[in-house]
């Protein structure tokens, strides 16, 4: 294609034990905004990091304007004409706005930085974005939205041909998003190629021309935005093809019966600004409540405020009908709530401790330091959960970091079951583990439900949610948008609610 700006062919990148990208093709044309879509682990970040020279590719070919490029550092990528704005603002908080725009390429005479020229250049760059901002202001004194705009100004200060925006809108409000879109539409009209990574459906449909979908490190396909219905996009992202989607219409809904009785947990108008809009939610003993929504829809945020990691700023919480305030994970555990976090490696496992130690940790913590569980009791607990949860390991003294992801997840589940919780919050328990282990975890969840536990189950795999939940709460763009129960639960029903456009946001985005 003659007007193609960036052509990526057969790009592969692996990490020890993981294949992050497998032979991906990706094309961006001049004057288009191209959405890069995919769920967790799809390979979006890896693709971007290879393009910007943070990672080195294992195989594949990248051409920019027909010339093969091979950036080995962000600086080289920039020199080729690829600029990037990252999701977490990657700027220097302690320097001024102007300096952040020019860092690393300050105008100098004989090695002497010309501050006047820096300020002028920064003003120009900010003016291009129609941003009224004092360039001498310290970056950390600006709001995240402004910082994001500064990052954009920096990206455009070099004569960039390709602009990559990696989830630039995740911390912006609607008006700010509108501003941003005005700018990138202008850039597009100037002939720049723009790669736009986001998980907000509405934004994809309001601003992009084309969509490339990745899944599990592989290319699913490239589609003109106008020709890909929302439902189908969601289907592609979660790994269904069009036929399956059609079949789903008639698919038998969830077989779960609705539980009666008093809820164990009930929250009313519960929310936190910037994380999740106030919502109502209740879970009964012996019930699995699914929390469905795309990445970034507020699933994890909901779990975090229930478990006391973040403080809610509105609403109230009841346990067994009694009003409670939970201010820390310790307080939550005391109330017999358990939480397996989404990022196992960062928030879950203690990597250099043994399986046994990882299993007893939460129970021991709830008993305090002085009432140590005897070694015999520890061994018994470890053996019991290794057996009950079918953890594949040579023995309880293995370091947990040497286990596979699925087995690590089972150990973490064991850690919480040892505390005999009444509510367990599972945030993406099946993420990044193989199919067999997924099925086992799902089976375990059902067993636990039968034992009378209340379970809040978060997953991007809709089939799992449908198969295991009695009720499903649907989140979109950090809001609760619907709730399904019993027979009404089906993948199709959930997807329609996730994909439905929001009326009010549409107006803003197209303004």
């Amino acid at each position: 294609m003659s007007d193609s700006l960036l052509e990526v062919r057969g790009l592969s990148k692996g990490f020890p034990g993981v294949r992050a990208l497998a032979g991906v093709d990706f094309t961006v044309r001049r004057g288009e905004i191209h959405a890069l879509m995919g769920e967790n682990g799809a390979g979006k970040s890896t693709l971007i990091k290879v393009l910007t020279g943070v990672y080195e590719r294992d195989a594949g070919d990248t051409r920019l304007e027909g010339k093969t490029i091979f950036p080995r550092s962000p600086r080289e990528a920039e020199a080729c004409g690829i600029s990037t704005v990252y999701q977490e603002v990657n700027l220097i908080p302690d320097l001024s706005v102007a300096e952040n725009i020019c860092l690393g390429r300050q105008p100098t005479v004989f090695g002497n930085i010309r501050w006047g020229a820096i300020t002028r250049r920064a003003k120009q760059a900010l003016a291009r974005l129609e941003l009224d901002l004092d360039p001498s202001r310290q970056l950390s004194a600006c709001s995240i939205a402004i910082q994001q705009m500064v990052a954009l100004a920096r990206a455009m200060d070099v004569s960039a041909k390709l602009l990559i925006l990696d989830e630039p809108t995740s911390s912006l409000d609607e008006r700010e998003v509108g501003e941003l879109f005005k700018v990138i539409r202008k850039l597009r009209d100037d002939g720049m190629g723009i790669v736009f990574v986001t998980h907000f459906m509405d934004q994809v449909y309001s601003v992009t021309n084309r969509i490339t979908v990745l899944r599990n490190g592989e290319l699913v396909g490239e589609y003109p935005t106008a020709e890909l219905p929302r439902l189908e996009l969601v289907a592609r992202m979660i790994g269904k093809d069009a036929k399956e989607v059609a079949a789903m219409e008639s698919q038998h809904p969830g077989v779960q019966s609705i539980r009666e009785g008093e809820p164990f947990l009930e929250v009313k108008n519960f929310g936190r600004k910037g994380s999740i809009a106030p919502l109502d939610l209740s879970i009964r003993p012996g019930e699995v409540v699914g929390l469905a929504g795309l990445l970034g829809s507020g699933r994890t945020e909901t779990a975090r405020i229930i478990f006391g990691v973040d403080k809610p700023d509105s609403g109230e919480m009841f346990l067994d009908g009694e009003r409670v305030t939970i201010s820390s994970p310790r307080a939550a555990i005391r109330r017999r709530i358990a939480f397996t976090a989404e990022d196992r490696k960062v928030d879950g496992i203690i990597p250099n401790l043994s399986i046994r130690e990882n299993i007893v940790l939460a129970l021991q913590a709830s008993r305090g330091a002085w009432a140590k569980l005897s070694r015999a009791k520890q061994d018994e607990l470890a053996d019991r959960f290794i057996k009950a949860l079918r953890v594949k390991t040579p023995g309880p003294e293995q370091l947990i970091k040497n286990l596979s992801g699925g087995n690590q997840q089972k150990v973490l589940l064991g850690r919480w079951l040892a505390t005999e919780p009444r509510l367990i919050i599972l945030d993406e328990p099946t993420r990044g583990i193989d199919v067999g282990a997924k099925a086992e975890i799902e089976k375990l969840i059902t067993e636990l439900r039968r034992d009378g536990l209340a379970i809040l189950f978060i997953s991007s795999e809709l089939e799992e949610v449908v198969r295991t939940s009695q009720r499903v709460v649907i989140l979109r763009d950090r809001k609760k948008v619907g709730e399904l129960a019993g027979e009404a639960i089906s993948e199709h029903a959930i997807m329609s609610q996730i994909a439905a456009p929001t009326a009010e946001s549409k107006d803003v985005l197209h303004a």
Binding site: V54, N90, I92, L95, G104, I113, Q138, A141
Partner: protein, 320 residues
Amino acid sequence: MKRINPKYIPLAATALVMIALYVLGCLLYPNFGSLRVVVNLFGDNAFLGIAAVGGTFVILSGGIDLSVGAVIAFIGILIASLISGGMPPMVAIALALVVGTVFGAAQGSLIRFFDLPPFLVTLGGMFLMRGLAFVVRAESLAIKHRFYQQTIRQLAIPLAPRIAIPFTAICFIAVVIVATYICIYTRFGRNVYSIGSSENSALLMGVPVGSTKIGIYALAGFFSALAGCVSTFYMQSGNPASFVGLELDAIAAVVIGGTLLTGGVGFVPGTLMGVLILGLIQTLITFQGNLNTWWTKIAIGVLLLLFIVLQKSISGARRA
């Protein structure tokens, strides 16, 4: 509406403390305000000041350098031995500066290439330099050379009858000016700030993090070596056992001077004020007569605490 940039608050606090100490001294003791006291403040603290300026770069980048005191002692005895061995002083000084810079670059390379913690690497550097100082010569050695006994004195700038700015003070002031320039007007200087503020961002923004890190420790090594040279001008001798624990005073001066120990925020002139504050405390206690030297350490500790808590509250407020 323009808010005061919070990064200037510690600097303002430093200036206030410095002025308050000086005014206090002037009110308590009639001679305190004399020109001679001020001149001596610069001259007596010159080598500490130069080392602290080097330390400022390291701390700005988020690192730490424990080798300062040992390097000064090593360079001092090295110069003394070389000169007494017949080498011309200028050659000996030039050689010493090269040795210091290379040593600093070596420390930086270990930190850069093997991701070693600066704390341990410079700790090793400290042991090495202290030991090598004794290898060069096990006891102190006076420098008897015309350059030292006459030229250095002639280089002083007379201010008033019988009061002159000593050459050591001139070196100190020159270093402060040059370092301030490097910090503000060179890309290297700005890179130091960016690494200290957010190393990951700096990397993604195309800052040459690796070579800058080596450069920072090389520069710190150079300044430590220069401080060693200045110490020989001041002492007219070299002593392998001297300046034990000077690195602590240097770090304290940097922190009291408003540089964030976590890196990213700080000013060389602040370090100058930090050094002067340490000097003022010392002078006050000397003037007082029956207060003892240990109050210096306690006062420095209290100031450190105040500044660290101040920094913590500012950075905490920023994050919230």
